[in-house]
Symmetry: D2
Subunit: 342 residues, 4 copies
């Protein structure tokens, strides 16, 4: 059975990545694509790398007939998203890739995103989309909120450790290196090749990055008490990939065993042997997450390093994995592509 798919916001990188992945998906067919400012154009004009595909022309959202759509991916900017989704038919399954439905508490949303939430009743309905940890709820959900790409990476490294109580909750530090596609197709000086290609720098440092809202929510829930981590992301001269170094107080062998056990049956989470560390180059373009653990020379300190592709496992691949669950399709369908190297 082929499910009919719409993608709203198809002119951005996550929209294009959805199209790339669905192109070889055995049970999905794209029937509608939206892009407000580029409505009327062919997808091949916006993204020539997709020119071999037979795709519907870009439309405005209100031109789409949703009666012929089974599931809708929503890859719109935050704030806009909550208004758009509020206007969609209640019968439609929705996987949202924006930040609008990630935080259960509307006060937290307002704190991190600087404005009140316009659709709090939808917020209440939304399921947090970190597949491996919310599988059952996602299966039955109508609206799934995709996680932040940095937030996903940090959580893969940390959730089993917090659940198992094997690390000190007050000394968690995430130093994260992110490729530039995570910033989207936005026209900013620091994203220009001339400025980024030899320029590594921190951004949203000091506890200001919005994905901290997700860390706070999820880690506190797991721990049953407030947990606040330190988190510094860095813009790094590469296109895809996130490498999260998570520094913790705990025993490396126990940490490794905990992670290995937690992910033993997971198709996309690969825990490397103790002492081996992953590289962004080895997960590019794929839905895999590689995790490594190493102890420090200082007893009782360890580092967990998780890496994934921000556009795939961190965003569009995760969205498809969730959609598979919602549609009753094999969870890994369309997502088994190997990484691309070099």
């Amino acid at each position: 059975m082929t499910h009919r798919i719409a993608i709203l916001g198809a002119s951005g990188y996550t929209g294009a990545e959805l199209v790339r992945l669905i192109a070889t998906h055995p049970a999905m067919r794209i029937v509608a694509l939206s892009a407000d400012r580029k409505a009327g154009q062919a997808m091949a004009d916006v993204f020539p790398f997709l020119r071999h595909l037979d795709l519907p022309r870009l439309q405005k959202i209100d031109e789409i007939d949703f009666s012929g759509v089974d599931l809708c991916f929503c890859a719109l900017p935050h704030a806009t998203t909550q208004l758009v989704i509020d206007g969609l038919p209640r019968t439609l399954k929705i996987v949202d890739l924006s930040a609008d439905f990630r935080l259960r508490d509307v006060a937290a949303y307002e704190k991190w995103y600087g404005q009140p939430h316009a659709a709090p009743e939808l917020q209440a309905e939304a399921v947090y989309g970190l597949t491996e940890f919310y599988r059952d709820q996602i299966r039955g959900a109508r609206l799934v909120a995709g996680t932040g790409c940095n937030a996903a990476t940090g959580q893969y490294a940390l959730r089993p450790l917090i659940s198992a109580g094997v690390i000190d909750l007050d000394r968690i530090l995430i130093d994260l290196k992110a490729g530039v596609s995570g910033a989207g197709r936005s026209l900013k000086e620091n994203l220009l090749h001339a400025e980024l290609s030899e320029g590594t720098h921190a951004y949203s440092a000091g506890g200001k990055h919005r994905h901290l809202g997700e860390f706070d929510q999820e880690f506190s829930l797991l721990a049953g008490r407030p947990v606040h981590v330190q988190f510094t992301p860095h813009l790094t001269p590469m296109n895809r990939g996130i490498l999260a170094n998570v520094y913790v107080d705990g025993d490396a062998a126990q940490i490794h065993a905990t992670l290995a056990a937690a992910y033993a049956a997971e198709p996309f989470i690969q825990v490397l042997p103790l002492g081996q560390l992953p590289s962004t180059r080895d997960i590019r373009g794929s839905n895999f997450c590689h995790i490594g653990v190493i102890g420090d020379r200082i007893a009782g300190r360890a580092m967990v390093v998780a890496t994934l592709d921000n556009l795939t496992k961190g965003s569009s691949g995760q969205a498809i994995q969730n959609a598979n669950l919602m549609l009753g399709v094999e969870e890994t369908a369309g997502l088994t592509l190997a990484p691309i190297f070099p």
Copy 2:
């Protein structure tokens, strides 16, 4: 039906690319992998990006039981290759990715590669592997010789034009920009990130590049007279992709029409509208070749630009396309992955 596949020389980039593509191939299964110096290692140790796959351990070639193999990809260095293939069972289908069987004339081989050919009788049997132009012979072949990646790119731009007689055969100039993975996993100073990343330069200039042997052979055969082109490749600070600018004397509209007609039914060759030109970023990781044509302000001059991924359409993807034909599988099987962008 699943065909049993061996890959000789699996520790290089083209070997790894074969594994990446076969991983999602519906009718191939890898049963043996060789790498002489790394025999005994797991593929995941050599290429961590493949660690999610269940693959046979690396072996020495003489440890492989070829009785359980239907088709063998040979991704070994040239010169070595002819000796190895000479020792393989005569019943085995072989797709060779080296330069050893590309030139029909052993004298030409000796001229371009600097040593006599050691297996001239195999040379006689080999079919040149530019799929779109040798489909019928490939279907019935036992040994197919994959083309050079630069040679493939230039030929896609030029073959229909030479056949149709719409360009001046004495004024063909190919200025080609190549990503660094085409040089393989070789340890040379000019391939280091520190030296390449801001360093574009020509190599094998002045008519010395070995792929000229293929151009001479194929173009002369098509034209029924000797054809010699000018050809300058450039090492460019990117990993994958070849962009061949082919400058010709001829009418742009006629050239475009000729190419569009020649490739109208081809699944992997995409001719852009007249006046549009392709970019390497749009074919990365895929088996597609994009071709554009533009006329010059000087009447009677035109430029044809062809781009493909050297590791895929230029090498391992081409090899699988040929293997599909030899095995009676759908020609596009395993090769419909969309390019990866960004």
Copy 3:
């Protein structure tokens, strides 16, 4: 003696490069910097790499007191430039880095830049700024028009050959690879790191690039007859550097001898031994131009390759070299920095 310098348009890459070079210039001191939209800011806020320098704050142009200025570099966008320069004191020496005064013929200006010239009398006064070939006029000039960076590179390869009559004027083809800083600090999708870093492509192809106006003007003047070249620039994934491959009909040895003789006494133009070719990595950040010559296997065909840094010798370094002449300072002052490698 220290000359007092103003830079108009100091918030772009060529403006910043002027500041970088003047910082160690023995006879220049910056007394005014303009940037209309960033007036009031410190230079260190716009370009943190200059924060160690004691520089005047950015102003609007009409806030500058030009009575205290000896020479003004004008790094403004074209079209704006002619209006601004028209309003400056007649006594001020000016080196313009825009395109506004490069073309002597106002009809040619209108053809290539799409609008009538607003200051034709200034145009008449301007001297073309390719230092090595206009030294005497530049020395006495009040207004010097810096060349296009691509135009400079092509001319260094070709001018002595046209003057000497050693190549066929009807078969000149320039295939040029340009780093992205040549596009300036402009916010365009194809300049983003995510889109450029694996994406080589031609632009303004087919005889549309504006620097052709300079080639036409200069080469025709040298030859005493109309000369029209083919010219295709390519955006290449690097920040600085232009590599111009110039394909000509002629004898390589004679071409090499002609160039070597022409540039024997030039401090910044280096002709490599016959058969050696230059790389962009070897001139980065410097005022040097490296030129190589190689013959083709086809008799009577040759390639000249010239490389320079578009921001230095192709623009701001050239401007300072011209300013040195205009101010009676040693021509090489402030310009002897070695390239930076790696």
Copy 4:
């Protein structure tokens, strides 16, 4: 007065960087260059970017007449270095760029470098070359040991804080991002453009990196008690530059004030306003070090970020700064070049 300079090991990146900087140094002249395997070659053959300079031909070390040399830079591999320096005339001033004389304690040397020290009496004589903190000793020294590039970056961030007692000595964590030129011109797979350009990864993690020997030595000495930091370096897809994120427990404002005061009179160390953070792109090719401080949302935690160019301030620039002191030349001579951006 011009001092006569020899450079041993001139065929590596730090050797070439010394030549680049000395080329515009007002008081130094290179009289000898050594490179064992490339003896007899011109420097321009090994490093074409230096071809405009009039340099002595490369020699073997024992061919050099040291009687005409005032000061010798030694840029040889560690272990070799101690043997070579042991054989040089006792009257020669030496600035060593290797690791051989950085650790005062020969047991520490053996621990970190895996072999006994062969010249312990020279070790005793050597002065640690972190200029800003050893100025007086360096002025009178005969042998100065240049610091590790990572070690320098971390120390600039931390030394004044340890001296002032404003941070918790048991919770210091350095997460460092390093450009690839720090690995030298070594032929390793992970330094290839194809493997590094999209591949960020940690190396020597878990307390194994040799520069920890310097951190331990210097920080313990300053604190008057053992201090052990956590330190993870990452290979980052860029050529030059180190960004050290130093996470500490302390008050951000006090930390910032301490650093600002400590470096107020330093010509090369720039402390940014509180809350601003530096980028590697802003110090490239220069002898400057930029330092930023930001507090975390968690009270009592802060981050200090220091950035410098590993080849300049981290190695060859530092060496020249020290040589200037040893020779009685202005400390900043030859080192005031602005960074290069973009």
